[in-house]
Point group: D2
Chain length 408, copies 4
């Protein structure tokens, strides 16, 4: 047994298959993948990695298994899945996942290939665990998969607390100890036991507060868009293909962006935090439905059109269209008066959160500081945006974005 | 200048009128008044006092004044009010306030008499401050009073963080540093500056989560009801009158309850944590409007009737009818796109909180463990409660209240 | 099983004999005994109690038993002793212990009588545990008693962390998780396993830093001396005897001091924090050995003589002669290269701590603010103190004691 | 003014020259240089960077300047130096500094060239500050330089607290708020004001505990030695010279090590945490003075000899000879009875720390796991080490290094 010191959970005891997996290269690689990608450009302390998060997820999974009285091979499979649940992440975590998934057909939780081979497969084999079973758990298939990849999974319990600790933003402070203790299986569904409606709500509220303040902070979104565009240029112009890029780490991508001609401007800007600004920042009601649902190519066409209209280079315009908000956790099951109810049937608050999420949705158009006005006006023309509330002149009005976390 | 070490704000620097006020007996008395009264019977670490809270409120007020660029005599008055804002509290803070207000006509924020006399008046006089001006601020009158006793006051910023620290419940962790910095006066109204809708929401969400988990935990409510009943017996049967009791401290009331015959049973039970149990625990929809709005005497009549019906002693039945929920903070002003808006006009979440508060409202009937069933049935008959969902047999069904914080 | 929320250890799970003992009046009484007595007059947040500390000690003992693989009846006895280890404390913990021990012959860890009777005895009996065995463990007799009352006991692990949390002083932050894991029994001795010399040192260093800053802060010492004198007056002049006083709680003693004539001046002064000041503050080298070793009566004689010489009332002079420093933990056993060594044989640092403790020792003479100079000079004459470094005029020279924690 | 959220100091307000400097590429580069280099291989959460540390140092410097009443241009120079004090660091901070200093003649605090040119020089010029004055402060020249680079500098106050926060090791928890407040200048020397001997001691004790547990943990030392060796190979075999390497960041060096043939084995091993083991681990008394004082070339010769003797490749042996311990902080000035005294004249503890540091000193020989025994024996022969206490067979005996932090 090995004991590892963690800044969030203090001591984490790792044994069995988990201890052996920790030492494999695919897991060690997670030391070089930041948990929050470009969020560190907003919150300078947010340098924590997928590696420490994976240990945290293992730790909470292990405790949950104990409280649920699940032991033996079934438990070991879950522990293996906990350690491995993030090995499929590309550099900068979710930041460039979309563009790689478009090219490779694989999302970050598609780890079949990764665990079926090499050191990981060897360790799983030593412990008599079939890689396919672990991959299934990571993908969210099967009853016990709910612990790792469900509405009540320990993944989000760890990241909320960890992200709060490292950003310094206090909103992620859920009572993870209580959550883990109150988990129970009823008819194959992982739910929270009687008396925990508030506990469940607190988990969703934490996410709802962390979302605009941390995960979707506009500076993090701008940087992410720039990283994505730079990475596309890198894939188009270098010998690096999506399959290989998916297995790189933050260090390698950061260097590759800076050293390849077509991506170097984005690489340099990200390294020096010389970021684009918002030319448009529009609410859902101000944006055409076609744009919200547009596919990648359509968005790229819009960017080209706007750039042409504004008279700037193609890379001088980036559109950032977030997906429609969903809140999977709202279906969390909670026992109320002896029967399992869905949280969104039970909680006024959770329903409000779903509305609030729509209200917080923003469409962005970004451009280099000097071109913001021209690009904003061009975007208005090309996209037919309503004038009010959308234009740069307003969003950047004095004082408006002197947000504490802004740091610009 | 004196520097005081505080477990929440680290170092608090006290100078001027505040430093002199700290040394007066009415402020020192707050060392013997627990911030959360009977909540310590649920959360054993919640022994923090009104004294340290008053220092915390002073500290945040002082910083807010700095950010708002308010100095001189106006600022000193606010600092004095911050230190003095809780000197009007009776023993166990809010727990017995109602019954004393009924008898003395004075609520805890009515401090005119207390500051117009003795050591406090002397200190205020030394610093050229009129006691009546300070009392006015404590009462919430005047523009600057909003800092001490308004929707955005530093009082609640301190207590949320402090109560979280001492109970160990993580939900009160607001970003008080940000809140204090973002305060601004617009047309005489204290509001949060542009970009702080979420900051404002977080303050209300923190309260909404702390409320059922801490402040209105049913064990704290039961204990509070017992304390209130014991105190009434003490007032009825001893030489202690309401005026004098209002100036006692927790120690004195705790001893008085135990040493006077008529109150000693409650005194002993509270000291030994031998508490009444819930005979009825009913939602708002299950309770007649007349009961919800009933005055003190009517409630006492009901208690007598139920006791008679159940065949138990008069003190064997306690009705606990909370006031209708209100959420004053929902009118908090926040600057949005350059104009002040009320939070409840702006925030879906805040509106949901108001509904949620009604849903969390509970009417309770409490009785000694052995009489719970008899009292429950009698209450049902006397109060005409709907059978379903209200009766003891259900609320105490196995597992239902095995809440983590319960400790019974 | 009950789960209790603790501000230090988060969730504490209490079951078996411990859960039943928690509900007994002698343990509930500890809710009304402050852990640090008069230290709260220096650190306003230090209002934590022996009750929460006892739960913490139980929690660490329980985890240590797990790591040591000790189960069954032996473990239950230790758990019972952990919960009960402080029931023998008099009001204000150690503050008035000496004077009660002088009168009753019982120290706080002499709990034979307390556990052999009443509710506690009943619970122990229900669980088949002999009260005498538990009392023995509390007293420090027997191999497993080392966990509760030895050099490496969980008692000090809990109080260092808890006192740091509540005072806000950061020096008590030991790695208690590691300490508990590294405990091991070798030849019947509880020692720290290989590789833990630094871990052991950190425990002693934490104490060494907490001592002058918190436990022996001069304001806490002055208050303690006043409390002791007031309590003596109370015992001399009222119907309360030492046996009864030993079973009172802080609330009762605080009220009794204020309501009895002979002690009321001390009671009032403590309640209003109107404290004596130092008339003399002398290092060990400046004080005669006879004084350091003087018994209680001799000290009282000196006080009378000094009062007479200074022309003040008898209660206007208090001598405070701390015992010679000892450092029991320096004999802590640590495994080094496979064999158990005493820490003070192994650690240069620990030896230095012993010297440092002697250097920090101070003899104090206290008097009301107005009499400080007269009493200081009289003490000098009567006690034959060297002039230099001892007199009030020096110790209170401007700036000298503007210590952060001072708050005077 | 910009406000930045920091995980340690909460909100950091940056204005004036500091705010402009933060945006320059040399300061932004510090985002990609880990504060503790290879320590992250022992403590997985220790991923904090020189960037956030620099903000922390600025913050404490700014507060110290306020307490010391230093304003205007003098203060701005100190603030600039605080932000810039680490721009001279090479990748992985101190880990490869020696070998670069040997080749470039420049240590990390030699920043004259770096601030005299480019964006930094531009900003300094805009604010009327001479780059040479800032470089002088960083180097530790001049009275105010003591705040940035002296025995009592804010640099170590920040890093102790920050390293504790991120590693999870509790020993660095000094009272930095108190330290900053108690700084004062006496006769041009920065000292701690009256009453702060313990405060000063606590700073040294924190370092003394963090040292073996964190900074000099043997796994961090092994990794550092491997990084150093790999970097030497990189410099010998690639187009990268020392001057260029000094300006790279962690990402670039990590990639370069892995992609160049001669260093790739070390690059891979570090990336996969496949580390060398200790073949020898010897105390100072067991090692010849000639070895302790040996220069770089002599050490390399010894390595070659041992490798030959053991029959392993040249890179299969690494000697790790730490410098003789020094404790610069022991000369810290503290005011005692009105005069400045050196801490080591005043404090028994500090003297003990100096001895303890010698005792903790260890000489290491490292080799790949399979060659540990052969290399250990060869080292013994070549270096004439005393057999006892030095050999691998002992240091790796079962259980001996099952240290909590070990994670191997």
């Amino acid at each position: 047994m090995t004991t590892i010191k963690d800044s969030v959970h203090d001591h984490i005891e790792v044994a069995g298959v988990a201890a052996d997996l920790v030492d494999t290269p695919p897991v060690q690689r997670l030391r070089r993948i930041k948990q929050l990608g470009t969020v560190a450009l907003v919150y300078p302390s947010a340098n924590h990695t997928r590696f420490e998060h994976s240990l945290g997820v293992f730790h909470l999974a292990d405790r949950a298994l104990g409280h649920l009285d699940i032991a033996g091979k079934r438990a070991e499979r879950v522990r293996a899945a906990a350690i491995l649940h993030d090995v499929g992440h590309s550099p900068f975590s979710h930041n460039v996942e979309d563009l790689l998934t478009r090219r490779t057909g694989k999302a970050h939780d598609d780890v079949d290939e990764l665990v079926a081979d090499g050191a990981v497969a060897g360790v799983l084999d030593d412990h008599g665990i079939a890689p396919s079973n672990v991959a299934r758990l990571v993908r969210g298939d099967g009853e016990l998969a709910q612990l790792i990849a469900g509405e009540l999974d320990v993944d989000r319990m760890d990241y909320l607390v960890r992200d709060a600790h490292h950003t310094g933003v206090p909103y992620g402070t859920i009572d993870h100890g209580r959550l883990v203790r109150e988990l129970t299986f009823i008819d194959g569904e992982l739910v929270l036991d009687e008396g925990n409606v508030q506990t469940a709500e607190s988990l969703l509220l934490a996410r709802a507060l962390m979302n605009p303040t941390v995960y979707s902070h506009h500076v993090a979104r701008i940087s992410k868009s720039m990283l994505r565009r730079g990475t596309e240029r890198l894939l188009e112009s270098s010998e690096i293909d999506a399959r290989r890029l998916r297995r790189m780490d933050d260090h390698e991508l950061s260097v590759a962006l800076r050293t390849h001609d077509q991506s170097s401007e984005f690489g340099r800007r990200l390294a020096e935090r010389s970021l684009y600004k918002r030319a448009v920042w529009a609410e859902m009601g101000d944006v055409d439905d076609d744009l919200i649902d547009a596919d990648h190519d359509t968005v790229r066409d819009f960017e080209g059109e706007i750039a042409a209209d504004a008279g700037v280079a193609e890379d001088g315009v980036i559109l950032d269209v977030p997906g429609k908000p969903s809140m999977r956790e709202s279906t969390t099951g909670v026992v109320v008066n002896g029967e399992v109810r869905r949280l969104d049937e039970q909680s006024t608050l959770v329903n409000a959160l779903q509305v609030a999420q729509r209200e917080q949705w923003r469409f962005g158009v970004y451009a280099p500081a000097g071109h913001v006005e021209a690009v904003g006006k061009a975007a208005e023309r090309v996209l037919g945006l309503e004038t009010e509330g959308a234009l740069i002149s307003e969003v950047n009005s004095p004082g408006r974005y002197a947000s504490l976390a802004d740091f610009e």
